[in-house]
Point group: C2
Chain length 121, copies 2
């Protein structure tokens, strides 16, 4: 590919991409949901996690509901205490999902880097 592109392509072009775990009816986990889970684990709050990601609370809540509905056990556990008052935390299943998908994402990033080098190096 290198010889088809501008001379500085090795510095300016790169293979980019996205991966996600697709379920029978909808997405289960992708990089955005992974980040959301990570923020929920770090902040103890869906609302704070949404703010950290520049995402509406409703959007974050919908994503959590989608993941919880698809998993055998909820990935995010919410404490009662009003619509935005209660805290939230990752369950053991949630922590395991974060770890497993973060590993997939890391291997994907290594793939992208290796392919970029192969194409342009």
């Amino acid at each position: 590919m290198k010889n088809l592109l501008p001379a500085d392509a090795a510095a300016t072009y790169r293979l980019a991409g996205r991966v996600w775990l697709e379920g029978p009816t909808e997405r289960f986990l992708g990089i955005g949901r992974l980040e959301l889970l990570t923020h929920i684990g770090a902040t103890g709050s869906i609302s704070k996690a949404a703010t950290a990601m520049g995402m509406s609370y409703k959007r974050a809540w919908d994503l959590v509901q989608s993941m919880n509905a698809q998993a055998r056990e909820p990935l995010v556990v919410t404490q009662t205490g009003g619509s935005r008052g209660g805290g939230a935390s990752l369950s053991e299943a949630g922590a395991a999902a974060v770890a497993a998908f973060a590993a997939v994402q890391a291997r994907f990033e290594a793939f992208l880097l290796a392919e970029t080098r192969r194409l342009l190096g």
Copy 2:
């Protein structure tokens, strides 16, 4: 991941994704552009390739212009003969780009399959 998901997850969940070659200002090649180039090579016509992909002629033309502008030599060569009258063909560079990106795509699909098995197998 398997133990977090429904019992039939190995049959119903899969890692999905997209990769594309990103240039300094815009995308250079992705699966859609690869398919467009392949159709142009097969039909000898941007218009027929657009129709085959359910894409407007303008969209197909814009994608071809984007690729041609970024490559050292045009990937698609058009013959004169009116706005939609002339034919189009892949240049040698175009054929090389198709081959190189199709190989990336094939390795990516192997990656997705291997990761799906790793997560759910």
